[in-house]
């Protein structure tokens, strides 16, 4: 109990405001490390490590928001009509069109137009999937936002090309041609070509439920597609 009281005096008064006397080490019984012990208190060690971690970010821009100056970095550049195995599906971007609003496309604003991507998707997984169309996104097209709030701007309309029914699912080993459309603001510039991003996934174990699933959605390829203006045909 006596030793405890002496140490309390040391940390709160002696070392900080009064200073330590020559004979204090004998009282604390800590030998040659007595001064260092005050310097390296647990709180100071943790705070120091934190400060070091922050300082270590300085050469890389510090706390400034990171900007990817190479948006195509890591993306495989594909040609039109090139088959790409994107994970649970093979995706082939076959063309792009600009269409006026017409059934079965229904724009929220009748004056708007449609940027259409024609694509063939084939499920390579062992069960039908209903997310193939969300593996295709436009990038940087005027009048078509890349993002829809916090989410990516998925297509506004996806149709099966052969019968123009609403696309729901693609099936294993059965290539399906799709009409994938985004509504474009009528005041935006008419695009002559568009960048199309293709998203892929990885088949791995879901660590939450331990089942094997297609996860880690990420952009893997990009295709620049010429746009044919078919608004008057």
């Amino acid at each position: 109990m006596a030793t405890f009281q002496v140490r309390l005096v040391d940390s709160r008064l002696v070392s900080s405001s009064i200073g330590r006397g020559q004979g204090d080490d004998a009282v604390y019984g800590v030998g040659p490390y007595g001064g260092l012990r005050d310097l390296f208190s647990l709180q100071r060690v943790i705070a120091g490590l934190g400060a070091l971690a922050v300082l270590a970010t300085v050469p890389f821009g510090g706390m400034k928001k990171a900007v990817d100056v190479h948006p195509d970095r890591g993306l495989e550049r594909l040609a039109v009509n090139q088959v790409y195995d994107a994970g649970p599906y093979k995706i082939t971007i076959t063309g792009a069109r600009l269409l006026k609003d017409q059934p079965p496309l229904y724009a929220t604003n009748k004056a708007n137009r449609w940027v259409i991507i024609l694509a063939t998707v084939e499920v390579t997984a062992d069960e039908s999937r209903n997310d193939a169309a969300t593996a295709i996104h436009l990038r940087g097209v005027a009048g078509v936002p890349d993002m829809d709030g916090m989410l990516r701007n998925d297509a506004d309309s996806v149709l099966v090309r052969s019968d123009l029914t609403v696309f729901y699912a693609a099936h294993p080993g059965m290539p399906e041609e799709l009409v994938i459309g985004w509504e474009q603001d009528s005041k935006a510039a008419v695009p002559t070509e568009v960048d199309v991003l293709v998203t892929g996934r990885t088949y791995r174990m879901n660590t939450f439920n331990e089942s094997m699933e297609w996860l880690d959605e990420e952009d893997r390829a990009i295709v620049t597609v010429p746009v044919l203006d078919r608004r008057n045909t």
Partner: protein
């Protein structure tokens, strides 16, 4: 200093030990992909033409036919398949309370599963609520590659569309179909689906 570093070292050692225990435990749990076995559906097999009991409904596959395209009598474009349509006649009723057949699929010999198509209107899968003791009969249409029927297909019916872990699934194995028959199916470009009817 030695005391402080010692404490930090003890904490770090404790954290590493904890992570090690969690990691080893996880590896034991997922050994040999145990989740897919542990939570696999309960499959109830039955012959074509007979009824089978699931937990919430009873159903049977009565017959099978095929087509190259399905016509909607209400109009619209023909629904041409890049493979072939397989159309099965299903008879079903709920057991104790109203329920719908949320999932209908065809499994081929390689284990690939094809969902019932949404391109054509078919209300027995998903849309229609079955009532206890009242049998209904209707058709469910699937699209499969043309090579699939020759290996033998299995009709799968379950209550839930997506969450089928530890759920019962009715399975009806269809006889393999020779290539000539499939070619004949594909040549039919004007098939229509028989509307669902109440048998009583």
């Amino acid at each position: 200093m030695r005391g402080t570093l010692g404490r930090v070292g003890s904490w770090l050692a404790g954290a590493v030990a904890l992570l090690l225990v969690v990691n080893v435990g996880h590896r034991v749990m997922v050994f040999n992909n145990a989740a897919s076995d542990r939570e696999r559906p309960y499959e109830v097999s039955a012959e074509v033409g007979s009824m089978a009991l699931a937990r919430t409904f009873t159903a049977g596959v009565m017959s099978v036919r095929g087509a190259g395209a399905i016509i909607d009598p209400r109009g619209g474009n023909p629904h041409v398949s890049t493979g072939v349509w397989v159309i099965v006649t299903v008879r079903a009723a709920s057991r104790d309370e109203p329920v719908a057949i949320g999932f209908a699929g065809l499994r081929d010999a390689a284990g690939r599963v094809y969902w019932a198509s949404e391109r054509v209107k078919q209300d027995l899968r998903g849309g229609r609520t079955l009532q206890p003791g009242i049998r209904v009969e209707g058709e469910i249409a699937f699209e499969v590659p043309r090579a699939a029927p020759s290996g033998g297909l299995t009709v799968l019916l379950a209550k839930n569309m997506f969450e089928r872990r530890m759920e019962d699934i009715l399975a009806f194995k269809l006889d393999p179909v020779d290539a000539a028959t499939v070619t004949g199916w594909a040549a039919d470009k004007k098939a229509t689906l028989t509307p669902t009817k109440v048998l009583g």
